[in-house]
């Protein structure tokens, strides 16, 4: 959906991740960019250069917060100090929505700093949804949960990953950050059809999408974010855009980061598929209108 309650009724277009090697270029050249996604944890500090840069960026651009450590799926209670810092940042950035991953990564207060796959069970869906609700109520901002890439599955799982994602977001009444590259990576690693995944999630809840590059190895695919987006991922993106509508989209490029322009140009390729989706939508509307009276 272009704008919905899960992305704060915004229509943000195509953004890229704000990364350190690009700071100087952005601040000096002030290139036109729809929006930047920031990694919340990089700015959950009390002072210094990170916040100075953030304030300068916010003078010119819209930013959206994306987290990597909230671990909605960790059975631990949310950490109070963490939430407090996150809320301070939410107030500073006025992010219209906030995203983090549908994964776990900590237990007993010990952090792995990884995005670990969930066991797809009703018990973990229930616990995860409760936690998302608690966090959203505290932060007072819409939340979109992102599907992760994974390299392992559990025997205890009771459903597919997309059924689990749907179960969680329906229970939590929250949005989805649909990462089509992650769907592709996990589909290859776990031998499912990525189109089944995209067809199977509640499209009206998708508030944002991610595209990114990955790396193929002999026996598995790794989500490396160090390449341009591969063709099959763009195709999935086009399919998702047709089903969900034109949605705020972000390119992730986190390693071997090339020039700002190269990253931005790669992100803007999404326009091609967005135009395709818009045309398809318009012709559907026209078909409903019946026969034209006269050609203009």
């Amino acid at each position: 959906m272009p704008a919905n309650s899960f992305n704060g009724h915004t229509d943000y277009g195509i953004g890229i991740g704000l990364r350190v090697p690009h700071y100087a270029h952005i601040l000096e050249k002030k290139p036109v960019v729809d929006w930047f996604e920031i990694i919340s944890e990089n700015f959950m500090v009390d002072g210094g250069r990170p916040l100075q840069v953030l304030d300068q960026i916010m003078e010119q651009y819209r930013v959206v917060q994306h987290g990597v450590s909230m671990y909605f799926g960790s059975a631990d209670k949310p950490d109070r100090a963490h939430l407090k810092k996150l809320k301070a940042l939410v107030k500073r950035t006025k992010t219209p929505w906030l995203s983090d991953h549908l994964c776990w990564g900590s237990v007993d207060g010990t952090y792995t700093h990884d995005l670990l796959p969930m066991p797809y069970t009703f018990a973990s869906a229930k616990r995860t949804a409760e936690k998302i609700r608690q966090i959203r109520d505290y932060l007072e901002v819409p939340i979109c949960v992102e599907n992760v890439s994974s390299y392992a599955e559990y025997h205890v799982s009771e459903m597919s990953e997309w059924e689990f994602l749907s179960e969680v977001v329906e229970r939590a009444d929250c949005g989805i950050l649909l990462d089509v590259n992650n769907i592709y990576v996990s589909a290859k690693n776990h031998d499912f059809n990525p189109y089944d995944y995209i067809n199977g999630v509640p499209h009206h809840r998708v508030g944002q999408m991610h595209v990114a590059g990955h790396t193929k190895f002999e026996k598995y695919i790794l989500d490396t974010h160090d390449h341009p987006v591969l063709d099959p991922v763009w195709k999935l993106y086009a399919h998702a855009t047709k089903l969900c509508g034109v949605t705020a989209t972000l390119l992730e490029w986190d390693d071997k980061i090339p020039s700002f322009d190269e990253v931005h140009d790669e992100a803007l390729k999404a326009n091609e598929f967005i135009d395709g989706a818009k045309k398809a939508k318009n012709s559907k509307r026209a078909a409903k209108a019946g026969a034209p009276v006269a050609s203009s």
Partner: protein, 314 residues
């Protein structure tokens, strides 16, 4: 010889369940599964960067992995867990590598990596942010000097200096106290505090100049890897000699969001230390010693105020 890293027990993490839960009926079952997997992922790697073949209860790791992880036609359950085990270690070692160039130079890369493995095996991260990954490294070296011997004293000094840089980078900056505000309260009652981003260090080695030299050497190496004619120059500067013992006093701080270190004389250091400890201005000045002249103290305070170091104690 150091005791093997694999025998170190992680602090802060409860013991793993004997077996992975067969089904997840409750949150408690989810915790058990997550605890088991965390214990496996944070176990130190083997010499060939693999998952350890024997679990803590003596069972083959393949058996433990198969109990809860599904294999596919390309990867066994063991191999799938190994991917995560390796990613955990590679990621964290990389970060600590970047955050501690000085310590790395003191120990050499191989010994540094052994130290980090032992440190993270005992003290896995307890913070949501990777910024705090090194926060207990100094404590660990004091507790287990065998990983840094015979350079433990120097290593301890370097770690304190490098952690002070993390603090200086992003700690809070409080409103600065003006001269007029200071003048308003009599010195016998006035208590000040230092900016939270300042760390005062009394060190036994001149690690400030050492770490800067190491960073310059590293920068030259990076440059050299991109330019053939620089290779010889870089090779010549390969080694930065470890510093000799010398008492120094230094404040690590920031100004206009750039990091600085500033050498201090002993009396100035003692005064600042007393301020940081919450003593009154009068007592803090006394802590500087009898030989300090009032005009000297006046000059120091003028400089500290110009640098924005002094704030009101809450």
């Amino acid at each position: 010889m150091p005791r093997s890293i694999s025998s170190i027990r992680a602090t802060g993490l409860k013991a793993p369940p004997k077996h992975a839960p067969r089904r997840l009926a409750s949150t408690n079952d989810v915790v058990k599964l997550q605890r088991l997997m965390t214990h496996i992922l944070i176990r130190p790697l083997t010499k060939s960067d693999g998952l350890q073949p024997v679990w803590i209860d003596g069972r083959p790791m393949t058996e433990v992995a198969e109990e809860f992880i599904k294999p596919n036609d390309r990867l066994s359950a063991f191999e799938r867990l190994q991917l995560y085990n390796r990613m955990y270690w590679f990621r964290l070692i990389d970060i600590m590598h970047d955050d501690n160039p000085g310590l790395r130079a003191v120990l050499g890369d191989k010994k540094f990596t052994r130290l980090i493995e032992a440190y993270l095996a005992k003290y896995p991260s307890r913070s949501f942010t990777l910024r705090n990954l090194c926060s207990r490294l100094g404590q660990f070296i004091r507790e287990e000097s065998r990983w840094t011997a015979p350079h433990t004293a120097l290593a301890t000094n370097v770690v304190r200096f490098e952690w002070a840089q993390t603090v200086a980078f992003d700690e809070a900056q409080l409103p600065v106290l003006s001269a007029a505000e200071i003048a308003r309260t009599p010195p016998v009652r006035l208590r000040l505090r230092l900016q939270p981003y300042i760390t005062l260090l009394a060190l036994d080695y001149p690690v400030d100049t050492y770490v800067v030299a190491v960073k310059q050497r590293n920068a030259l190496r990076t440059e050299a890897s991109n330019a053939v004619d620089k290779v010889r120059e870089a090779k010549q500067s390969k080694y930065v000699a470890r510093p000799r013992r010398e008492r120094i006093y230094v404040a690590v701080h920031r100004l206009d969001n750039w990091l600085y270190y500033k050498r201090l004389g002993r009396p100035a250091f003692l005064i600042l230390q007393a301020i940081a400890a919450g003593q009154t201005l009068d007592d803090a000045v006394t802590a500087g010693g009898r030989r300090v002249k009032p005009e000297q103290v006046g000059g120091w305070f003028a400089m500290w105020m110009e640098l924005g170091w002094l704030c009101r104690k809450k």
